[in-house]
């Protein structure tokens, strides 16, 4: 297999002391942000992004993706020991993880969580290894209409499948696309929506917006809550680890099912949150002993953690193969790629082999190193929570400001970040989702270019989006997904009408 040879090459790129050191640093920083309340994957990656600006792209992405893995691992620690999900996708882990800790089985629960996270990611990385090159070589045949159709599919699936009120998703997305258009128009060179401001000439930088939306707003939200907490401390001994691992084969069905759900939901923009709940619920439904769930059953930890990690990892597949991120964090990594001068999309696999395979290899290596790291250092990380938030909050604010400034060396961006912080705070509280906004902002220009190029090609005829089987089916699928809630209701209405007739 060609993929395996390239993967080995990727490992060779990585196995230097410098890279391994960066990996460890990334993981530690990631676990740190995962454990801290009010900071998570997207925030962590966004805040720490400026650290990587001066590195070469491969080192940078290795460090950033390790921050991401670390944050995924870290979320489990607070859920189990403190009953506080560090991340939304860790909520399902608290159902059985915290009861286990209360029964004095914290070490067992943590081992289970870390191990299943590891398995989930591993399955997803294997999927990426073999599927991503295939998809990207297929996508090389895409022209502008096909690309626009894929972008449309991404946006429509957010509206149709998201849990939030539909009009709020639409608001968030159109706002993101509009802000992406501010500044100089790339085709005609004309200025748009700048209202004579020289600062707006540069446009609204995606990363500045993200740092404000996720970093600053999260601090404001965290301050609202009561920050007192009580939890169990735990150390993990080798004996516990081995005994949990010995039992692993018994749960292979759960692990496999959750990995599958996670990969599936990760690729479609739905996210890790839905995956973790679905993994948990299905494990419960298929269990012979449903009542024991929620009372400290180890399967209740395995199922959501595997699914959350599989989906968090699988979200990187469409990003690598097509340049379309499957989650908020993937969108930020994508923004990073552009800062380092890489053009995300199918060409990445052709033009930057070292980079892509280095990244994929780092996913394998990062997860192995991460597993060992968390298993050995849990007590230290649990005690991070002792650090008062009054000390952590201003440091996060400073890091955000450094990040926002460093991107374009503009003071205006610090103010912009502050503005986005307020917007993010208000939006979160009134239920306007931020993920579609992030995605729209990062994809906006490319979606518009694809649209205009296809329009120029066809002479302004919208039929170009149905001009061949491929683009036609993607566009149709996008429209079906957009109206999915309506279609779903219609179907269940029809089947309800038919059922009494059958009976």
């Amino acid at each position: 297999m060609e993929a395996i040879g390239l993967l080995m090459h990727g490992f060779a790129v990585l196995l230097t002391w410098k890279t391994l050191l960066l990996m460890m640093t990334g993981l530690v920083l990631g676990i740190f942000v995962g454990v801290l309340p009010g900071l998570g994957g997207p925030n962590g990656v966004a805040i720490l992004l400026p650290l990587t600006f001066t590195m070469d792209p491969t080192s940078a992405i290795v460090m950033l993706s390790c921050i991401y893995w670390g944050a995924l691992f870290g979320g489990a620690i607070t859920s189990i020991l403190f009953n506080i999900p560090g991340e939304a996708w860790s909520v399902a882990t608290t159902f059985d993880g915290y009861p286990m800790a209360q029964q004095g089985r914290a070490a067992e629960a943590l081992t289970a969580a870390f191990t299943s996270s590891f398995i989930g990611s591993l399955v997803a990385v294997m999927l990426i290894t073999f599927l991503a090159p295939m998809i990207s070589s297929f996508a090389l045949k895409f022209g502008p209409p096909e690309f626009f159709a894929v972008y449309l599919l991404t946006f429509c699936s957010f509206v149709g499948l998201g849990r939030e009120a539909k009009h709020k998703t639409v608001i968030s997305m159109s706002l993101g696309l509009l802000l992406a258009g501010i500044g100089m128009d790339t085709v005609s060179g004309q200025l748009r929506m700048t209202f004579g401001s020289a600062e707006l000439l540069r446009g609204v930088n995606f990363l500045v917006a993200v740092i404000g939306l996720f970093g600053i707003s999260e601090i404001l939200l965290t301050m609202e809550e009561r920050l007192a907490l009580r939890g169990h401390a735990a150390g993990i001994s080798l004996r516990v680890v081995l005994s949990v691992w010995k039992d692993l084969p018994k749960y292979w069905v759960t692990l496999f099912r959750s990995s599958f759900i996670g990969c599936w939901l990760g690729i479609t923009p739905g996210g890790a949150i839905a995956a973790s709940f679905m993994g948990y619920n299905l494990a419960k439904r298929f269990s012979k002993d449903q009542d024991s769930f929620g009372k400290g059953r180890i399967e209740g930890v395995f199922a959501p953690e595997t699914a959350a990690h599989a989906s968090g990892t699988a979200a990187l597949l469409p990003m690598l193969a097509l340049g379309i991120p499957g989650s908020g964090t993937a969108a930020i990594l994508l923004g990073g790629l552009m800062v380092w001068g890489l053009n995300p999309g199918p060409l990445l696999f052709v033009e930057h082999k070292d980079f892509v395979w280095g990244l994929i290899a780092s996913m394998y290596l990062g997860n192995v190193v991460g597993l060992v790291l968390v298993l050995t250092t849990v007590p230290i990380f649990a005690s991070i929570l002792r650090v008062p938030f009054a000390a952590v909050a201003p440091m996060i604010v400073v890091s955000c400001a450094i990040g926002a400034f460093a991107i374009q060396n503009a003071m205006f961006d610090i103010w912009l970040m502050l503005g986005f912080g307020v917007v993010g705070y208000v939006f979160k509280k009134i239920g306007i989702p931020l993920a579609p906004f992030t995605l729209a902002l990062v994809l906006g220009n490319r979606a518009e270019d694809a649209f205009r190029l296809s329009m120029i090609g066809s002479g302004g005829d919208l039929k170009v989006f149905w001009s061949n089987g491929l683009v036609g089916s993607i566009t149709t699928l996008a429209i079906v997904l957009l109206f999915w809630p309506v279609i779903d209701r219609a179907f269940s209405g029809v089947s309800r009408m038919l059922r009494p007739a059958k009976a």
């Binding site: 914290a106 608001i171 258009g181 004309q190 008062p388 302004g460």
Partner: protein, 180 residues
């Protein structure tokens, strides 16, 4: 495990009281945000109309794509406005209580001051002031701990960004006096 009985306890003495009165309901904020978005959509829509939202011989004009987006944004905000007016649940939901608002302001106001200070004093001085001030005044942490933490953090940032990675931050009179 044997050591699970050791509990980690963190207190939060300045936590917002649970029974604090509400400042504003979710509905009011939702209506205001919808109106603002509507105004934004109209402003951007007009600007794009001016830039040209039609077709020319080479394809769509620069304002074409954003013009239709402004219409979508406007439509969705209008829908949101009506939905917020009609919603009964939102009227009873609290957007923020007085105690919560006080805490949010306790972090937001220093952040604004920090940004101002960054503009005039440079980032490193501003960050020292923010961290030490916030820890001391909001967190009620001992003065020497606050100053020490702020100094170590700021110095670490300076070494990481300015010395090691050459990422230049806004600087003020202090850095100039030190010759950096």
């Amino acid at each position: 495990m044997s050591n699970t009985d050791i509990e980690i306890v963190v207190e939060d003495p300045t936590a917002p009281e649970a029974n604090s009165p509400q400042v504003v309901s979710v509905r009011v904020v939702d209506v205001v945000v919808s109106l603002l978005l509507l105004a934004l959509a109209i402003t951007l829509g007009l600007d794009n109309w001016r830039a040209g939202a039609g077709w020319e011989s080479t394809g769509p004009q620069p304002g074409y794509f954003p013009f239709y987006l402004s219409i979508i944004l406007g439509g969705a905000s209008l829908y949101g406005l009506v939905a917020a007016f009609l919603s009964r649940t939102e009227a009873t939901e609290t957007f923020v209580t007085r105690a919560q608002l006080r805490r949010v302001m306790a972090v937001f106001v220093p952040t604004v001051l920090f940004c101002l200070a960054t503009q005039f004093l440079g980032l490193y001085v501003a960050s020292f002031l923010l961290i030490s001030g916030f820890m001391r005044l909001v967190g009620k942490i001992a003065l020497w701990k606050s100053l020490l933490t702020a100094f170590i953090f700021t110095a670490a940032m300076f070494v990481t960004f300015d010395v090691a990675f050459d990422v230049i931050m806004p600087k003020g009179p202090l850095e100039a006096a030190l010759g950096r």
